[in-house]
């Protein structure tokens, strides 16, 4: 059989659009109840998706030392979440992020061993070193460790987990699938050593190809088979039956981003107050660079901005992109056009599939399952049934002899 795509769903809140909780369908209790997540898991399985993936946040959003009522929506422990939805699915891969910087390796290894065994080998661990400074203060640390130190710790941590998994009773796939999501040079080197799935950020097809060529070379350099690593860039689709309708939908979604949310988002990204700046004026880069502080030391404002097609965007244009899906690519069009787009990326070596980041949930994900997946199947680009039981089987990774 010819090569087929891998597809994952990455749900976040009521959608990746920062105003998505204001959509008509969003309800107050959604994010704290089981039904909301079970529905998403079942949608994934109807669309024979490889996996559902939950992120981890280790602090509550604040601005100027105060809770931010616009951006601080709740997030639940991702391992508890994937465990609680497991009963509703039979084949779906269940992937949770867990930080190696602020948790105990033995405890984390036991968590993933438990879900992997009790689900018959469907678990995956997205290994992150945590990029947010704010987390340190919740974990008895004075400051967030530097990137190099974090990755050194991550390598030791994963080595320890793998040693424990060899010791403990193993699951149907021997151990959880290892996933990685960092794009820095340290992140890439780490991924090339341990990852089997990579969640990436590529905004253009050229970026995607270059990244995949580079990482495959690095994987081979580390003595591993590059075909055993799936590179899945994130993408946020806005799909409707005509292009004009999809564009209207895009406008409606931007309308969800209330001016108060816009200001909160900009303050979060650039550490300054944008009250009084006009949406149709170019982004005030000089003022931004002079701002007394950037919220997170990991962020370089000029890098965020350059991501808008190489040109200085207006404040409004910047917000349109950033409020929808942060720095990931988005797509606006018909189901056929989206399938064409995915096919082009997949067949020209820019990816091995995608991680879908719906801007509004569940609506924009239902559209993908009901209208895009059937096209991909008809073209032979995506499965119609799960090939086996474990996540490794689904991803088409070679079975392991031992953990």
């Amino acid at each position: 059989m010819s090569r087929q795509m891998s597809l994952g769903l990455f749900p976040l809140g009521h959608g990746h659009n920062v105003g998505s909780w204001r959509a008509a369908a969003a309800r107050k209790d959604d994010l704290l109840g089981l039904d909301y997540y079970v529905n998403l898991a079942r949608l994934c399985e109807r669309g024979t998706f490889d996996m559902i993936f939950f992120a981890e946040i280790l602090y509550s959003y604040e601005q100027n030392g105060r809770h931010c009522g616009q951006l601080a929506y709740p997030t639940l422990d991702p391992v508890v979440l994937i465990s609680a939805i497991a009963h509703a699915t039979e084949n779906l891969g269940l992937v949770a992020t867990y930080s190696t910087t602020y948790t105990d390796a033995d405890a984390t290894a036991a968590k993933f061993a438990t879900i992997d065994r009790l689900t018959g080998g469907r678990a995956g661990w997205n290994i992150v070193t945590t990029g947010a400074d704010q987390s340190a203060h919740n974990f008895s640390q004075r400051e967030h460790p530097e990137r190099e130190a974090r990755y050194t710790r991550a390598q030791d941590y994963v080595d320890r987990a793998r040693a424990l998994w060899r010791e403990w009773p193993s699951s149907a796939q021997k151990r959880p699938v290892l996933v990685q999501a960092g794009m820095s040079p340290y992140g890439r080197a780490f991924a090339a050593t341990v990852a089997e799935v990579m969640f990436t950020v590529s905004r253009t097809i050229e970026d995607g190809r270059k990244f995949r060529v580079d990482i495959r070379a690095l994987i081979a350099e580390k003595g591993r088979d590059p075909d055993q690593v799936k590179v899945l860039p994130g993408i946020a689709p806005i799909i409707a039956s005509t292009e004009a309708e999809a564009k209207r939908k895009e406008d409606e979604f931007f309308d969800l981003v209330h001016p108060r949310i816009q200001l909160a988002l900009l303050a979060d990204q650039f550490g300054m107050d944008f009250t009084g700046y006009a949406l149709d004026q170019p982004l005030p880069i000089d003022d931004i660079m002079k701002a007394p502080h950037v919220v997170s030391g990991a962020r370089d404002p000029s890098r965020l901005i350059q991501k808008i097609d190489g040109q200085m965007p207006t404040l409004g244009a910047y917000l349109r992109q950033s409020s929808r899906v942060r720095s990931h690519q988005s797509f606006v069009g018909t189901p056929e056009q989206f399938a064409d787009h995915m096919q082009r990326w997949f067949e020209t070596g820019a990816c091995d599939g995608f991680n879908i980041l719906p801007p509004v949930i569940p609506g924009e994900f239902e559209t993908v399952i009901d209208h895009v997946v059937p096209i991909l199947r008809k073209r032979g680009l995506f499965r119609s049934a799960y090939p086996g039981k474990t996540l490794r089987d689904t991803l088409g990774l070679t079975p392991l002899a031992a953990a």
């Binding site: 204001r22 438990t114 009773p169």
Partner: protein
């Protein structure tokens, strides 16, 4: 009456079937004990949707790890189970650290007031900044700023279960006697 279950070394008992049987028999709590390579909280999350009434009491230790991790994990399952969770703390080697651990965990649960989520779509206020606050804990074993990133669990304070003789007995809501009999120290309805 509660039933206490340990994972055998093979780890492959059918936990959901066991929990359903315990529920059918009329047990009110299933205590899930820790064993090597087996995480009771994760198992409790897997079992929870297959049961309806029985309280789940995973053993979550306080000898290692950080209160933030424990607070958010227990809070998540308390939300998803609509308040069916009990926190069973196992063996303790450092009593002072354990007491501080429990204190910080409880303060993190309280860092969101019960009505903090306003969900005001018109004014774009998801949660009320006046009702979510840092805890600023500066202790001997832990320094935790907070707030938690998960709203207050439905039970407010998830009941704490310990064995008789535990150095946490005075902090506990449920103490299991040496003969295995449960002594309820406080009515569960009073915990908010």
């Amino acid at each position: 009456m509660s039933v206490r279950a340990c994972a055998p070394s093979s780890n492959d008992i059918d936990w959901a079937a066991f929990a359903t049987a315990a529920e059918r028999t009329g047990f009110d709590t299933l205590v899930i004990a820790v064993s090597p390579g087996f995480d009771p909280l994760t198992a409790a999350a897997l079992i929870m949707p297959r049961t309806h009434r029985i309280r789940l009491a995973p053993e979550v230790g306080v000898d290692r790890g950080e209160p933030f991790t424990v607070a958010r994990g227990l809070a998540a399952l308390d939300h998803l189970s609509k308040g069916r969770l009990t926190w069973c703390v196992g063996a303790i080697t450092d009593a002072a650290r354990a007491r501080e651990f429990v204190e910080v965990t409880r303060r993190l649960w309280q860092s969101w007031q019960a009505d903090a989520i306003s969900f005001d779509k018109a004014d774009a206020v998801f949660s009320d900044p006046a009702k979510v606050a840092r805890i600023n804990h500066q202790g001997t074993a832990f320094q935790v700023r907070g707030p938690l990133n998960t709203p207050r669990p439905p039970q407010g304070r998830i009941p704490l279960m310990v064995d008789a003789g535990s150095p946490l007995a005075d902090l506990a809501d449920i103490v299991i006697g040496r003969d295995g009999a449960t002594v309820e120290r406080r009515a569960l309805g009073d915990l908010r």
